[in-house]
């Protein structure tokens, strides 16, 4: 049987109370601003947004829209994670590969996201746009973090692996992946948010039919700040949920630290 000390319970309660208090404060500020502006199309009130969300939730169209964007952005993120890891591993193994990849990665990291979106619009139709945009935005983050994770492996463990002639697959599971996991977790934390931001931006610019971006575009066309806020909240909730799920999955990998960095 386990018991929680009163001190610990008190600390947790205070932390929850602080969070609720902070949320209530910002909702009050939002409400006050909405009352002050007094124009729905410019700034909807929290209650109006909540009502819109409640109306949206039971509709199939709402979930279909979420599925459309979630699928494509998740595909882009996964592609970036796999490609970033492959490029980082090859860079760590061969200096020539590193010399080849680094300028491309630096260019992708520095270029404005809209440049890619416009270029991709020329090459492909808007339904593929969020996949490639989120992939390109997340790729440099994944590459840099995995490369750093590889560099941070314990050299003494690598020596032990060399002496005992540990096969590559065994070393990967026992030494390489546990060393890279904290960095991968950090990359996921940044990358998931980036994938959603860039993916939805691409959907808005490309007016991708059936996407969350299209809903945001409609909100702009119809001057509906209520819809804009409602869909923005949906994006934030989806992004945070994806991040949490991913970090939980990473923590379940053998060798992961109890709390990934």
């Amino acid at each position: 049987m386990t018991s929680t000390s009163p001190d610990k319970t008190g600390t947790v309660t205070r932390a929850v109370a602080r969070r609720i208090g902070a949320a209530a404060f910002w909702l009050a500020v939002w409400q006050a601003a909405a009352v002050a502006v007094h124009r729905d199309f410019l700034l909807a009130s929290p209650m109006q947004v909540a009502r819109t969300l409640v109306n949206l939730l039971p509709t199939g169209d709402f979930w279909g829209t979420i599925g459309w964007s979630l699928g494509r952005i998740a595909l882009g993120f996964t592609g970036a994670a796999v490609l970033g890891a492959v490029l980082a591993i090859s860079s760590a193994a061969w200096p020539v590969a590193r010399a080849l990849w680094e300028p491309a990665i630096a260019a992708i990291r520095s270029a404005p996201v809209v440049s890619f979106i416009i270029l991709l619009l020329l090459w492909t139709d808007s339904s593929h746009l969020p996949v490639f945009t989120s992939l390109l935005m997340v790729l440099p983050v994944m590459y840099a973090n995995v490369l750093q994770g590889i560099a941070q492996r314990d050299p003494r463990m690598l020596e032990a692996a060399q002496v005992f002639r540990m096969p590559f697959r065994r070393r990967l599971v026992a030494i390489d992946i546990p060393a890279a996991l904290p960095f991968l977790a950090a990359a996921c934390r940044v990358g998931v948010g980036l994938a959603w931001k860039s993916g939805v931006a691409a959907e808005v610019i490309g007016v991708a039919t059936g996407s969350i971006g299209e809903r945001l575009y409609e909100a702009k066309v119809f001057l509906s700040s209520t819809d804009l806020f409602a869909w923005t909240i949906v994006i934030v909730v989806l992004s945070v949920a994806c991040e949490r799920l991913l970090l939980r999955a990473l923590r379940s990998v053998p060798g992961a630290p109890v709390r990934a960095a």
């Binding site: 003494r156 463990m157 020596e159 032990a160 060399q162 002496v163 005992f164 002639r165 540990m166 065994r170 026992a174 030494i175 546990p178 053998p254 060798g255 992961a256």
Partner: protein
């Protein structure tokens, strides 16, 4: 831990020392090694006979661990030659345990088993029986080694080195951290498992040298070597 201090009475149920088939002389000739301006080894000469135990002794900083690293192929000499190492299978107990902390003791030993013994339940059984010989059994064998005590981790590191197929075993202060109760039995286990293998033992303890009936090579600062 399982008491087995008499190594002269072999037990058929114990794992056989997994040494490779080749037995050859290893020769270090006029080896020099420096790190920056610091000369660690200067003209070291050493011959390791097949199946022998050689104890490297001497004060700290005299190059014992560097000599061990050369034998393990982790360093290259700046001058001199080493013969007899090509294709040789090696294992080691390092000064630090160098275990995968998130893996249990059985998994750590399994990592170094050769292809034939590496997979499936047979591998697990082989690793378990190896660990049992150093007194790591039951829950201790199946929890992450980071949760074991320092002495237990040391025994896992020793069992791992003994379980690996090897012709040359390098033991760098292997019994450091073992308590007085377990040390004699672990030493007896190591002596038994070194049978037929060439071994280099780095130690400051004359009792260990005597126990392994090792040839003593005493390193000193400066050129050459005193035996």
């Amino acid at each position: 831990m399982t008491p087995h201090s008499d190594s002269s009475q072999p037990d058929a149920s114990r794992p056989v020392s997994p040494r490779a088939t080749t037995a050859r002389q290893i020769t270090l000739h006029a080896i020099s090694k420096r790190y920056g301006d610091h000369v660690v080894l200067d003209g070291l000469g050493l011959v390791l006979e097949p199946g022998s135990v050689t104890a490297l002794t001497g004060p700290n900083g005299v190059g014992k661990t560097t000599a061990a690293r050369l034998l393990l192929g982790l360093e290259m000499p700046d001058a001199g030659t080493i013969s007899g190492l090509h294709g040789l299978q090696r294992s080691a107990v390092f000064q630090e345990d160098r275990l995968c902390g998130h893996l249990d003791a059985v998994a750590n030993v399994r990592l170094v088993l050769d292809r034939e013994r590496r997979s499936g339940s047979a591998a697990r059984a082989a690793a378990k029986s190896e660990l049992a010989l150093v007194g790591i059994e039951g829950d201790d064998a199946s929890k992450p080694v980071r949760d074991l005590s320092g002495g237990q981790r040391r025994r896992v590191a020793i069992a791992r080195a003994m379980a690996a197929r090897s012709d040359l075993v390098v033991l760098d202060e292997p019994f450091t951290g073992l308590d007085a109760e377990t040390k004699p039995a672990v030493m007896a286990y190591v002596r038994e498992r070194l049978t037929g293998r060439t071994a280099v033992l780095i130690t400051h303890d004359p009792a260990e040298v005597e126990f392994f009936a090792a040839r003593i090579v005493r390193l000193r600062q400066g050129p050459g070597l005193v035996v």
